[in-house]
């Protein structure tokens, strides 16, 4: 019995972490966030480590690793608020296409980082505003909001009937408009379809469900990393910042804020591990765990990134320290692909709590 990361997984996390710490410090993140650089650069770097293909099977040209490996990478990316299309290209698209067994020929180029596949799932989950996608033949009409990755080459699109389609970014009749959000490290866009040619991925709602579950765990892992970094920064800052002739880490109020963050966050690590493991190995718990893990991490992530900001005092509010990148990362993760309330409802519906 071993509950935790294998030595290979630790190595994987270390190698991603080392790359990000060296090549993608906050200054580099800032350049992408402020529009000076594109996230293609870091994605290419990650591609050299094989990251885009982490969930892509070896015969499809990827590393063929599992969900826990993907979670471990997601955590590292969250820790470094890395601007990269990991969630859509490396998790959502590969899981969908491989589960459906369709269009897997695309995945080789995804694994090398040559092409990116964005994800327009929101309308299959809980349609907002006047969005929604309808199908006539293999033509899509309507629109998708807050599509992940404004720079993708293809998009995986969910319809209101929970079918999945693939459309090319340059397809006739497709209009793509970036949507600016609080989160500048990852881009979203709106897609408007006017009878756009689409390729069916799956009509089985189970494929969307499985894809969604995988995405939820990856998002939770990203929040775990972001929150852990916010906590680490708060502790480090408190040990160095002096007020009233002592480091603020010596004030019981500050100590207790940090202790509360750690106490809330530490069990989340095990929860993310287990939820990722369940995706591959314990199918009967997978959806319930995925929903709970994303919902719980959303709550904890909000608490931790906010409290870490408070520990930083005024500096936490400035762009100088940049702590807000972590705050916004956790905030973004909370809202996308299901708010905590929606996911808790789904978790309830997916278990027989009482006879």
């Amino acid at each position: 019995m071993e509950f935790g990361l294998s030595s290979e997984q630790t190595l994987l996390q270390d190698s991603v972490t080392r790359y990000l710490a060296e090549q993608q410090p906050l200054d580099a993140v800032r350049k992408v966030a402020e529009g000076e650089n594109e996230d293609a650069l870091v994605w290419q770097g990650l591609a050299e480590l094989g990251i885009p293909g982490i969930l892509i099977s070896e015969e499809n040209g990827g590393l063929g690793l599992g969900s826990l490996d993907a979670a471990v990478v997601a955590e590292a990316l969250g820790y470094h608020v890395t601007p990269a299309p990991f969630l859509s290209s490396a998790v959502i698209a590969p899981v969908a296409l491989q589960t459906a067994g369709q269009h897997q020929d695309l995945l080789g180029s995804v694994a090398t980082g040559e092409i990116r596949i964005g994800a327009a799932l929101a309308e299959g989950i809980s349609a907002r505003a006047d969005a929604g996608v309808t199908v006539d033949g293999n033509k899509l009409s309507g629109k998708s909001l807050f599509v992940l990755d404004a720079d993708a080459d293809h998009y995986l699109v969910a319809t209101a009937e929970q079918k999945l389609y693939l459309v090319a970014a340059d397809a006739a009749g497709l209009t793509r408009t970036p949507l600016s959000t609080i989160e500048k490290t990852r881009s979203t866009c709106e897609l408007v379809y006017d009878k756009v040619d689409a390729q069916l991925v799956s009509e089985d709602p189970g494929v969307l469900a499985k894809t969604w579950d995988a995405a939820l765990v990856a998002i939770a892992a990203d929040t775990l990393g972001a929150s852990q970094c916010a906590l680490d920064q708060a502790v480090a800052y408190s040990l160095q910042r002096e007020q009233f002739n002592r480091v603020i880490a010596s004030f019981q109020a500050v100590k207790h804020m940090c202790a509360e963050m750690a106490a809330a966050l530490e069990p989340c690590r095990s929860m993310v591990w287990y939820a990722a493991h369940a995706l591959d190995e314990i199918p009967e718990e997978a959806t319930m765990m995925a929903c709970h893990t994303k919902a719980h991490l959303s709550e904890v992530g909000q608490f931790v990134t906010r409290t870490a900001t408070e520990v930083h005092g005024g500096m936490g509010f400035t762009d100088l320290v940049g702590l807000h990148y972590w705050f916004k990362r956790a905030g973004f993760n909370r809202q996308i692909l299901g708010t905590p309330e929606l996911l808790r409802r789904r978790a309830f519906d997916h278990q027989q709590m009482v006879a």
Partner: protein, 398 residues
């Protein structure tokens, strides 16, 4: 319990309403320093006693006796009719009262009139990167060189520094004195050589504040309020003014109505969010807190009117409770909107309320921290409100 202001004030209210009827059309849509319409409007307000109301006529004010109820009636009527209430800014809200209290006759003559009329804009130089909660540990220093102070150091959180003509600034003039006794309160022009302003971008993405750097800034010796080394006492004469206003409960009520409106127009999978029991319960929970703070505010107003009433603790908790409440209200709005709640930036067509939900959510987190963090507030409440002991002194090296 009597919630009316009584008949004697109703004629005053009628006067205010008449003024609004006659002149409301001149109310500028945008306020703020350097705005010509706003300055013209400000002068009209002063003339009629709706701004600078209690400032003596000799210094350019209206010269009325302080009357809290009249001030409240003015505020209520202006707010109800969405009329611009005149210029704000730290020169008017903070420096003017300090000059009236501690300034020399010459200083009052020189500064108050142009300040309240909007012709002289000020910024405040208190906080420093190393002196936040522990403001008295500030280290910007001023040394006397002949007839001039030579100022060196850095200030932070200086709003409107780019616009300001003058700064009122706390500096350390007696480095060897205990920290609260070595500070002086200087006034100087922002175009003095040696001042550099850098906009300070915050988490909202805007530069609501600045950093200000001083390098051998030379200030005439007499531009000091109070005595050398008395600056801490001078500043504290007005510090209290800032607190309560950070979290006005009426604004919270307006905001709560805004969330309800949002819930009524936004849908999730076809369901109006106002019909979602979980969000509705959260909304009502917050309304309970908003109502409690509104009632608390009535009590505070009453205690200001009726001197016998004790509302010390009720006043002390306003900032702590009010800022937290607002932060949570904005958070609910964001949650309710799901992905749409992430929108930020005027080019996003799904932006709701001009992006104010996300903006205020972050801004109020800033207010929870700023102007005395929640931790400092709790120290104050427990020590001054509940009579618990101060943080004990630490053994050196301990």
């Amino acid at each position: 319990m009597d919630l009316s202001f009584g008949p004697e004030y109703e004629s005053f209210r009628a006067e205010v309403q008449q003024f609004i009827a006659d002149h409301g059309n001149k109310s500028p849509r945008q306020g703020g320093a350097r705005n010509k319409d706003a300055i013209t409007w400000q002068k009209l307000l002063i003339e009629n006693g709706y701004a600078a109301r209690t400032i003596p006529r000799e210094y350019g004010g209206y010269g009325a006796e302080p009357d809290i109820i009249k001030s409240r009636i003015i505020a209520e009527e202006f707010s109800k009719n969405q009329i611009n209430t005149g210029l704000g800014g730290q020169g008017i809200s903070m420096l003017t009262p300090v000059l009236l209290e501690m300034g020399s006759e010459e200083q009052k003559q020189q500064f108050i009139k142009p300040t309240i009329e909007g012709d002289m804009v000020w910024c405040q130089g208190y906080s420093e990167p190393g002196a936040g909660s522990d403001l008295a540990s500030l280290s910007t220093k001023a040394e006397l060189d002949g007839d001039e102070w030579v100022v060196n150091g850095q200030k932070i959180w200086t709003s409107t520094a780019q616009l300001a003509d003058w700064i009122f600034c706390l500096v350390r003039t007696e480095p060897d004195a205990p920290k609260h006794q070595g500070i002086s309160f200087l006034l100087f022009r922002m175009d003095t050589p040696g001042i550099e302003i850098r906009p300070l971008v915050d988490m909202t993405g805007e530069a609501n504040f600045n950093e200000v750097f001083f390098t051998d800034v030379r200030v005439p010796k007499h531009q000091i309020v109070g005595q050398r080394g008395q600056g801490w006492q001078v500043a504290n004469a007005i510090l209290g003014h800032e607190r309560g206003s950070l979290a006005p409960p009426d604004a919270a009520q307006t905001r709560l109505n805004g969330v309800a409106k949002l819930m009524n127009s936004e849908t999730m999978s076809g369901e109006k969010l106002i019909d979602n029991s979980v969000f509705k319960d959260r909304l009502m929970k917050l309304q309970g807190r908003v109502l409690a703070m509104r009632c608390n505010d009535m009590r505070l107003l009453s205690a200001r009117i009726n001197k016998g009433q004790d509302a010390k603790l009720a006043g002390m908790i306003v900032k702590l409770q009010g800022t937290e409440l607002r932060h949570e209200l904005e958070a609910l709005a964001i949650d309710v909107m799901g992905e749409i709640g992430l929108s930020y930036g005027s080019d996003n067509p799904y932006l709701r309320g001009n992006g104010s939900w996300q903006h205020t959510y972050m801004y109020y987190l800033g207010l929870i921290i700023g102007g005395g963090t929640s931790q400092i507030q709790k120290n104050i409440i427990s020590e001054r409100g509940l009579g618990m002991p101060k943080e004990p002194k630490i053994e050196q090296g301990g």
